[in-house]
């Protein structure tokens, strides 16, 4: 694991997408597992602030993108397991499309040759 100092805050507005993607891939996860999965798959670059994770989860529950079911962890502790709903998956596709458009645009701007050169 990288040291905390080298970690990066998740870019604003993308946390929902990351959570949805993680759940779409892994199926059912509880909060801590979501945070760990994001940290792990980003190879420790992204730090999932719990302070933003739970508000985001609640927001997506209210919007109907996620469903939450209480279940048991492997060591028999109560945890709420989240799953992406059909609406959540549609939302994910849309967010990915928008993200890619934006990312392409940004990289085009960054790679543009100096004017007149």
């Amino acid at each position: 694991m990288n040291t905390p100092t080298s970690r990066t805050e998740i870019p604003p507005g993308t946390l929902d997408m990351l959570i949805l993607k993680t759940l779409a891939r892994d199926g059912e996860l509880h909060g801590f597992e979501i945070a760990q999965a994001i940290e792990r798959t980003s190879v420790g670059v992204f730090l999932v602030e719990e302070g933003s994770l739970y508000p985001a989860l609640q927001r997506m529950l209210v919007k109907g993108w996620l469903s939450g079911e209480w279940g048991r962890t492997s060591d028999n502790r109560r945890a709420r397991y989240y799953r992406a709903t059909a609406a959540g998956k549609r939302q994910l596709e849309q967010e990915i499309r928008e993200y890619e458009r934006a990312a392409n645009a940004i990289s085009r701007v960054l790679r543009a040759a100096p004017a007149g050169a």
Partner: protein, 897 residues
């Protein structure tokens, strides 16, 4: 669709908020534990791992709150919290809370009650179908047919008058035309004769108003013509009271000694006109029969329903055009005005066909509106006062608010907090006010005689409640917003340090308060000027020379039932009653008349020609009354010239009359009319004047007495009479003597209105008295509220400036100086307020002109006395707390800092 699902989820979360919060916390606790375990697994010391996990989580409470915010309804949740907090704070300050809630409850309660009264009288449509289509054409005659062989003593040859037939001939304009009159009848009953209110109505009356009978039928055009069977339609109320709701159609009832067959029963709630118990038919043309049971005549009102598709304005215009044609067609005599031209003047000013509702509201409108305005002023004073109280309250909380601001509350949050307090106050005030409104309304209706109240009894309904609610919310916001923003304007750390709050912000609050107090004083001045004008009018009215002396005079009224006595027998009985009374020790004079003063509800005026050719009288119609020999003495009507009647004047062919001063002045200006003569109608015999008496006011104290002529009572032996007795006996003994005397002569005779003359005066001024009482009451309440306001503001200023005053005292200021210092500001505030209020009242008092009597709208005495009373009250309210300030012990104040 999605949005609705989201909203439903939000609502669901709001419902199970506590459970959801617990779940959220459990979830996050697990997260912390797992985080700590994973750190431990990575080899971090257990305690440090826990701490690190907690740290990473940040402030757990904040996170929970932010997560919960995602559930939505955050503001509503905050509002609940604000309300809880506000409730706690208000309960901690019972004095402040009680005064604010009390003032508001009073203001809102009074305004609500007044609104329901005005609503019932003016805003609610008449209880008839499509009432807006109903009009009351002005100046429309109802033709009279004296019958074969009868001679109508009218003014010369019968003219084609403008009458109800002209309206009936306009079917394209008026779908239905009717007429009604209201009077009283005797209903014979096994136990005791009963006086009932009767409507005399044409056949189309019920159809025009759009009501159908509950049972049986209403009238047909052939009902009421001479020779037709006597029929009556009774009201639901009489049906229940008198007949217990039994099957009565077809039964006969004795009304004023004549049998009437009941042909119909009207549905519940219908009792128009006035509070009619029953209706009898009026034929067109009317005959001697029609009003025989009354005083031979009743004032009738013509009503009409406009044809479908015709607006009332169009109907008015068409009718006015017909009037103009008619007036133009009248024969002209040089130098003489036709009597119908006077009627046309009336049509010109009031409109040809004004709405029935407006006609029925009539004079009450102005009085009710002025009263509503006065209540509005009272509510305004209450609101301003509460604002000022909240302002001092907010200012004294500057420190608390500053602390909250430092702890991270945004200004919006603090404003919301303060607003929730004022909304809570106003809501409580409004709820108590609405709860009080029925009680206040009962007081109000008790104070308001029927003359002022509406057709339907006022009650609190949905509209009134909506009015009160809007009123409560508006006042809450209005008086809450300013103090809330004012108190938070400069919430900063400096306020914490500033201690008691002397300095710029406190001065700002004081300025705002001074403005509010000035406004309050201005509003109160207006209210007091209004009350003063009404009081002065009432006083002027009480001083008015009514033309008679009401002291120690008792009266009763009765009507001979038709056929129960011949005219001669009536005369004999009246004479017997009067003789009995005159024999009683303690009764100085007793007499009979046809019309009591101030009771002009009938009688007729007749066109008179005098023997004085030098004068053309503009209005030759003179009211005709009858009086016995001692009537004038009994009523205290002064003899100006000549003599009273004697029994000899009763002799056939005596042809004498007594006239009043108004008639003397109109027909014989500057001359002695005694022994002059006049004629009336087609009568060729001249009538000789034997005396002139003082003019007696007839249709209310505020209206000049009309021209009157009295004939000896035996000259026409009237059906409807009033007995009058004056004496040194106590009122109850006097009244008992009156009823005993009538009963001794005819035990079966029903009597009514047995009362002292001063009660007759009381009844005639009742609506003015009610208006005056209410406005004076509102004025007094306004005065109390604003004096409380001044007191509160001065007390606040003294408390805020204790330190400054202490220093001044320490530096050698005398008590006088301190008093001047504290009171000085208030003096200016008062002067500005009173001046502004008096100025506004001066320009607005015009609206009261129709309500005043004997004073102008710019009555100097009122405009001096009202502000003076207010200034006096304000001085007292200022001096009490200000004197407290001068007793400040400088040492104590300094130590306290």
């Amino acid at each position: 669709m999605n949005r609705i699902a989201t909203l439903l989820r939000r609502v669901w979360l709001l419902v199970r908020r506590d459970a959801a919060s617990r779940e959220l916390e459990e979830e996050m606790r697990l997260h912390r534990e797992l985080r700590a375990e994973s750190l431990r697994d990575a080899g971090v010391d257990a305690r440090e791992a826990n701490a690190a996990a907690a740290r990473r989580f940040g402030n757990a409470t904040t996170t929970t709150e932010r997560a919960r915010d995602e559930w939505g309804f955050a503001s509503m949740n905050d509002l609940l919290q604000d309300l809880r907090y506000a409730t706690r704070r208000l309960v901690q300050r019972p004095g402040f809370t009680l005064s604010v809630v009390g003032i508001l409850a009073l203001g809102i309660g009074a305004t609500t009650a007044m609104f329901s009264a005005v609503d019932a009288a003016m805003l609610k449509p008449l209880p008839f179908e499509r009432a807006s289509e109903l009009v009351a054409p002005v100046g429309i005659n109802i033709p009279f047919d004296p019958g074969p062989g009868q001679k109508w003593r009218g003014d010369g040859p019968a003219l084609a008058t403008f009458d109800i037939k002209n309206l009936q001939a306009m079917p394209e304009t008026f779908a239905s035309v009717a007429a009604y009159a209201a009077g009283g009848l005797n209903l014979a009953d096994e136990e005791q004769p009963l006086r009932v209110s009767a409507g005399v109505v044409t056949a189309d009356f019920f159809k025009t108003l759009g009501v159908s009978p509950l049972k049986g039928r209403t009238f047909r055009p052939e009902d009421g013509v001479p020779g037709a069977p006597s029929v009556v339609v009774i009201s639901w109320g009489l049906w229940q009271r008198q007949f217990g709701g039994a099957d009565v159609v077809g039964k006969s009832i004795p009304l004023s000694a004549r049998k009437y067959e009941i042909v119909g029963v009207m549905p519940r709630g219908f009792s128009f006109p006035k509070e009619s118990d029953l209706w009898i038919p009026m034929s067109i043309p009317t005959t001697f029969e029609t009003f025989a049971s009354f005083r031979g005549w009743l004032p009738a009102t013509v009503i009409a329903r406009v044809a479908p598709g015709v607006s009332t304005a169009a109907a008015d215009a068409r009718l006015f055009a017909k009037w103009e044609q008619y007036i133009a067609s009248l024969p002209r005599e040089p130098g003489k005005r036709h009597s119908m031209e006077a009627t046309f003047d009336d049509v010109r000013t009031r409109g040809a066909a004004p709405a029935l509702q407006a006609t029925l509201i009539g004079d009450r409108k102005r009085g009710l509106l002025v009263l509503l305005g006065a209540t509005g002023l009272l509510l305004l004073i209450a609101s301003v006062n509460v604002t000022s109280l909240l302002l001092s309250h907010g200012a004294s909380r500057r420190r608390e608010l500053a602390v909250r601001a430092v702890l991270g509350a945004t200004r919006g949050r603090v404003v919301r907090q303060l607003l929730s307090e004022s909304v809570l106050l106003s809501a409580t005030g409004a709820i108590i006010g609405i709860a009080l409104a029925p009680l206040l309304l009962r007081i109000l209706t008790a104070l308001m005689p029927p003359a002022l109240a509406g057709l339907a009894p006022p009650h609190i309904d949905v509209r009134v409640l909506a009015f009160a609610t809007v009123l409560g919310v508006l006042t809450g916001l209005a008086f809450g917003l300013w103090p809330a923003f004012g108190a938070t304007r400069d919430v900063s750390a400096t306020a914490i340090k500033a201690g008691g709050g002397h300095g710029a912000t406190a001065a700002g609050t004081r300025r705002a308060q001074h403005f509010l107090v000035a406004a309050e004083i201005a509003l109160t001045t207006m209210l007091l000027v209004g009350a003063g004008l009404m009081l002065r009018s009432f006083d002027q009215l009480a001083r008015t020379d009514s033309g008679f002396d009401a002291r120690q005079t008792a009266t009763l009224e009765f009507s001979f039932s038709r056929g129960s006595a011949t005219p001669a027998e009536r005369g004999t009985r009246l004479e017997a009653i009067v003789d009995r009374l005159n024999d009683v020790a303690g009764i100085s004079a007793a007499g009979v008349t046809t019309d009591l003063p101030l009771r002009a509800d009938g009688g007729i005026a007749i066109s008179v020609k005098s023997d004085n050719p030098a004068v053309t009288v503009k209005d030759p119609f003179v009211r005709m009354l009858a009086a016995s020999e001692d009537y004038f003495t009994a009523m205290g009507i002064a003899l100006k010239r000549g003599r009273f009647f004697t029994r000899a004047d009763n002799a056939p062919g005596a042809n004498v009359a007594i006239i009043n001063e108004a008639m003397a002045h109109a027909f014989w200006p500057g001359l002695n009319p005694v022994d002059r003569t006049f004629t009336w109608g087609g009568d060729s015999l001249p009538i000789r004047i034997v005396g002139v008496v003082a003019s007696v006011r007839e249709s209310g104290l505020e209206h000049e007495a009309p021209t009157q002529m009295f004939f000896p009572i035996r000259a026409n032996n009237p059906m409807n009479v009033a007995i009058v007795a004056r004496g040194t006996l106590s009122p109850s003994a006097l009244l008992a003597q009156l009823t005993t005397a009538v009963g001794a002569v005819d035990p079966s005779q029903a009597v009514h209105n047995v009362r002292m003359m001063r009660d007759v005066i009381g009844a005639s001024v009742a609506s003015r008295r009610a208006n005056t009482t209410l406005i004076v009451l509102f004025g007094a309440l306004g005065l109390v509220v604003s004096v409380l306001g001044v007191y509160a503001v001065t007390s606040y200023a003294v408390a805020q400036r204790a330190r400054e005053l202490g220093i001044r005292a320490a530096l050698g200021a005398t008590r006088r100086d301190l008093l001047r210092h504290i009171g000085g500001n208030m003096t200016w505030v008062t002067i500005v307020g009173v001046a502004a209020g008096a100025g506004l009242a001066w320009s607005l008092s015009k609206v009261m002109s129709g309500l005043l009597y004997g004073v102008t709208t710019h009555d100097a005495a009122t405009f001096i006395a009202a502000p003076f009373a207010l200034v006096l009250a304000v001085v007292v309210a200022t001096l009490v707390p200000a004197r407290r300030a001068t007793r400040v012990n400088p040492v104590e104040v300094m130590r306290a800092e």
